[in-house]
């Protein structure tokens, strides 16, 4: 990828980060917490995928590298999800 491509990704990431703050500034966190929660977390996931795919070049690596990363992510999510569910 050349510098123009990297720049486009940067602008998108910057905009999404701002959007997350805007969600709070508009008062959505207070008025509809779980809607705001979902919106903000989805934006974080999209940003993370963007950084991993383009800045860390996962898009161009063999799929096995992505599976390696997903392995760690799934393990962390399994621990968090199951542990939290266990006390609900």
């Amino acid at each position: 990828m050349d510098w123009k491509g990297y720049t486009v990704i940067y602008v998108v990431l910057f905009a999404f980060a701002t959007a997350q703050a805007v969600v709070e500034f508009t008062g959505l966190v207070d008025s509809a917490y779980w809607v705001a929660f979902a919106l903000i977390m989805v934006l974080s996931v999209v940003k993370a995928v963007g950084v991993a795919a383009y800045y860390q070049h996962l898009r161009w690596e063999p799929r096995a590298v992505t599976y390696l990363v997903l392995g760690g992510t799934v393990a962390a999510l399994a621990l968090t999800g199951a542990a939290a569910y266990s006390i609900l």
């Binding site: 703050a21 903000i40 063999p62 393990a75 962390a76």
Partner: protein
């Protein structure tokens, strides 16, 4: 052999060799000897508390003495003996079995060993800091926190730090083994075809990579509770009783979740190498390839995956809800099924082959029998209703030892199996068999009575009078078991001098690659480049390698190999061919001057020594003692200096010219090593974020923000830091582009920009923290600091861990900036890319910390 061919290493007779070596075989021997020392350490402690238990009551060691002995015995045996003992074999044998000349990162391997050794020394030193940790090897909260530890508790803090050091060693080792096994297999050697011991190690390190990261998170949090005063695992004290409705109702369960998320895979981390040894010995001494080998491997893969979804069966007696208990009961019963298949595979291998009752086979067979008993008795604990009765009793102690020590039994079989390979000498087989008899008798006399005395409460030195006979039998059994090791040590020690010399392969039908080379093998392992391309092991000379690599560097692979477990009819032939090939080749393999670059390095030892001093100092800094503060300071400077020295030391370990690399063909070893480390780091941060989520759910997710966080904790500092990190990530990729275009000015400018933005991030964070520390409001009259409440603890520690990652990144960035200034990286952006992988990961973590800690 001249020093040049020894990669700059002194001879083995020189003490300095063992401090300087980075060779996998030397490191393997060091692991084996050190692990056996910790076996003695933990074993003597066990004998002490077994003596204590001859009669009810603590009349020999005293109550604290007993608690310390039991706790330290558990920790030493689980962490410092069994796994490192297995990894002694793994270090020595995996490169040999897969056709590599060493591990991918030899210095990292040496660093793993020295960190392991010094972590054990720190564990020992903890006895001299008042008392060592005495709350049981599972270290349940809140008994693991300073408020519940008698005295100053510095010894307990040292134990936590020793475990952190040990975990660091394990993580480095996991990265190293995975990179090696995916980048350095001999041509034609598919993953499914590598010898079963190496396969078991492969799956073990996968589990280690993720499980130990969760343990590392738990230990770092615990260390923070000890040293920095955070309150993750603390209950509030209400008068003289624990207030369970305090501001952190999830404290105790959080530890249990983190510990057992690691702890249950740990059972298989311990047992899998033993299973690999058993399979190797069963194949060799029955002269039969493992029956259902493919299904045996599939079963191991299934267990490795399932091991991460059974941990809550250790928590059936806690307050977790019934649906989750039911789910975990089902997964626990499910994990026994692949084990059944593996057990039957081993039994059928015996039935189909012709058994030779050698010492290694006897230990392997003994291990199988003990494991079957351990497995069956474990099913009781996997059932919720029965677990209510058995939990916390000697049933657990007996079951646990039948499983774990059966693993150790197989590993002792491994010691007898590979001793001739490692030393070039054969031991006295009759003495070996006698030791097995005494060992097996002692083992069962020690642990079986515990099933009968199961009503004895675990970790308690008082028991009903009627159970005394069983405890007395167990104590006698303990001493018989201990005595059996005297036979083993005598036999193996004397055989070093008096044992008969052995050739490459003293065992008929042993067919994995280590048996095709001399005993012990030469420093570079093979008399050529190993290849299975034709379906059998061959050693290629330089010309053939050059021909194969011409035009397609690193290309490999056609043909598949049966690398272990020869059948009764063809096993010997495979061995003979391999051995014949081995002896026909010249022992010294010359590929060029590069391969003979020095592989001697003192830095791994120094880094670990300095790390030890740092951790010892940290164990006492909360007392304000000048001694401990000085140790921490000197150790910290020493660690930084020695790491810098290690970075600047020329050390060349080239990739193999020709190798099998599925599924990471296009991912060179440094990059694969970095990605593997990052996968582990994902679990580390995941466990930190998961801990935050857990205690917040326990408290009440939405009430958390209103009750525990001051209004002064606003979004803007987090948003600014998000912009800074995103921009710095952008500059790293621009530095890559500039380096590729050979623009030195552009590379330096982009790296300087990255550095400046990272520093800006830390300054902004520092200002924010200072502000929050010193707020004076009605709700928080004394500021909002690490100890104020559970929300402040999670905020400072999680973002602090992230800040530490930023700081490490900045140090690397500064180093690279200087190198770029001196002209490095032009036309080759790989080093910047590898740094970028780390830096972008730090960026990604922040993308989640920002909303969780600043908005939601």
């Amino acid at each position: 052999m001249s020093q040049e061919h020894e990669h700059g290493l002194p001879p083995k007779s020189s003490v300095s060799r063992w401090f300087l070596t980075t060779n996998h075989k030397d490191i393997g021997v060091l692991y084996l000897i050190t692990a056996l020392f910790f076996l003695l350490f933990g074993g003597v402690l066990a004998l002490l508390f077994r003596l204590e238990l001859i009669t009810s009551g603590a009349d020999l060691l005293g109550s604290m003495g007993y608690n310390q002995a039991v706790s330290t015995h558990g920790l030493l045996m689980v962490f410092w003996f069994i796994s490192p003992f297995a990894f002694g074999f793994a270090n020595y044998l995996v490169p040999l079995q897969i056709g590599a000349d060493d591990l991918a990162f030899p210095r990292l391997n040496a660093l793993s060993y020295w960190l392991y050794l010094f972590s054990g020394i720190l564990m020992g030193v903890s006895f001299f800091q008042g008392t060592t940790f005495a709350g049981g090897w599972t270290m349940y909260a809140p008994l693991n926190t300073p408020a519940y530890i008698p005295g100053e508790g510095l010894g307990a803090t040292s134990v936590v730090l020793a475990l952190i050091m040990f975990t660091a060693a394990v993580t480095l080792g996991s990265v190293n083994f995975l990179t090696t096994m995916y980048r350095m297999r001999a041509e034609g050697l598919r993953m499914r075809d590598i010898p079963i011991f190496s396969l078991s190690i492969n799956l073990t390190v996968w589990m280690m990579l993720f499980a130990f990261a969760a343990l590392l998170a738990a230990l770092m949090i615990l260390a923070s509770d000890h040293i920095l005063g955070t309150t993750y695992f603390q209950y509030s004290i209400d008068g003289t009783t624990m207030a369970t409705d305090a501001d952190n109702p999830g404290a105790s369960l959080l530890w249990a979740h983190l510990f057992w998320f690691f702890g249950h895979p740990e059972v298989y981390i311990v047992f899998f190498p033993a299973l690999g040894v058993m399979a190797e010995c069963f194949q060799t001494f029955t002269g039969r390839r493992l029956v259902g080998r493919k299904w045996f491997i599939i079963s191991m893969v299934l267990v490795a995956l399932q091991s991460f979804v059974v941990w809550m069966h250790h928590m059936f007696l806690t307050g977790i809800n019934l649906p989750i208990k039911t789910i975990f009961m089902a997964t626990t019963i499910g994990i026994s099924l692949p084990f059944d298949l593996m057990v039957f595979s081993l039994i059928y291998t015996m039935a189909k082959g012709r058994v030779r009752f050698t010492t290694p086979f006897l230990f392997s067979l003994g291990a199988l029998i003990l494991f079957i008993i351990g497995g069956i008795t474990g099913v009781f604990l996997g059932a919720i209703v029965l677990d209510y009765q058995f939990r916390g009793t000697y049933w657990v102690v007996a079951h646990f030892h039948y499983v774990m020590v059966s693993g150790a039994t197989a590993l002792f079989g491994g010691l007898y199996y590979w001793y001739p390979k490692i030393t070039g000498k054969m031991y006295n087989q009759t003495l070996g068999k006698i030791q097995f008899g005494v060992y097996f008798l002692g083992f069962n006399l020690l642990y079986f009575p515990m099933f009968l005395a199961w009503e004895t409460p675990r970790r308690v030195f008082v028991y009903p009078e009627g159970l005394q006979i069983w405890h007395s039998m167990a104590t006698v059994g303990g001493f018989v078991l201990g005595a059996s090791f005297l036979i083993m040590f005598y036999n193996l020690f004397v055989s070093l001098w008096r044992g008969e010399d052995v050739g490459p392969n003293p065992w008929e039908y042993a067919t994995s690659a280590e048996w095709a080379v001399s005993s012990p093998p030469a420093l570079e392992n093979f008399p050529g480049v190993p290849s299975y391309a034709t379906g059998k092991l061959e050693f290629l000379d330089d010309e053939t390698v050059a021909e194969r690599t011409e035009g397609t560097p690193g290309a490999a692979a056609h043909g598949h190999a049966a690398t272990d477990g020869g059948t009764a009819t063809d096993g010997g032939a495979v061995t003979a061919r391999a051995a014949a090939t081995a002896t026909a080749m010249e022992p010294a393999h010359e590929v060029g001057g590069e391969e003979h670059a020095s592989h001697a390095s003192f830095w791994p030892f120094l880094v670990s020594l300095a790390g030890f001093v740092t951790f010892l100092g940290l164990s006492g800094v909360r007392t304000g003692s000048v001694f401990y503060l000085s140790l921490a300071t000197v150790g910290g400077i020493g660690t930084f200096g020695s790491l810098l020295g290690m970075t600047r030391e020329p050390f060349h370990a080239p990739e193999m010219a020709i190798a099998e690399r599925w599924p990471f063909e296009r991912v060179e070893k440094m990059k694969l090593g970095m990605w593997t480390f990052l996968a582990s780091d994902i679990v580390l941060f995941g466990a930190f974020i998961g801990s935050y989520a857990f205690v917040r759910v326990a408290y009440g997710w939405t009430a958390w923000h209103h009750d525990l966080i001051p209004a002064e904790h606003v979004t803007m500092p987090g948003l600014i830091n998000t912009y800074l990190l995103l921009t710095s990530s952008f500059l790293v990729v621009i530095a890559m582009v500039a380096a590729e275009r050979e623009s030195k000015r552009g590379t330096v400018a982009a790296l300087v920009g990255t550095f400046a933005l990272g520093v800006g991030f830390l300054i902004n964070k520092g200002l924010e923290w200072q502000h929050l520390f010193h707020i004076h409001t009605e709700a928080f009259p004394n500021g909002w600091n690490l100890s104020t409440n559970i929300a402040s603890s999670t905020f400072y520690l999680t973002t602090g861990l992230h800040g530490a990652h930023v700081t490490i990144g900045l140090i690397i960035c500064a180093y690279m900036t200087v190198r770029a200034w001196n002209g490095a990286y032009q036309g080759d952006d790989r080093a910047i890319e590898y740094f970028g992988l780390y830096w972008h990961f730090v960026d990604i973590v922040w993308l989640f910390l920002f909303p969780l800690f600043y908005i939601l």
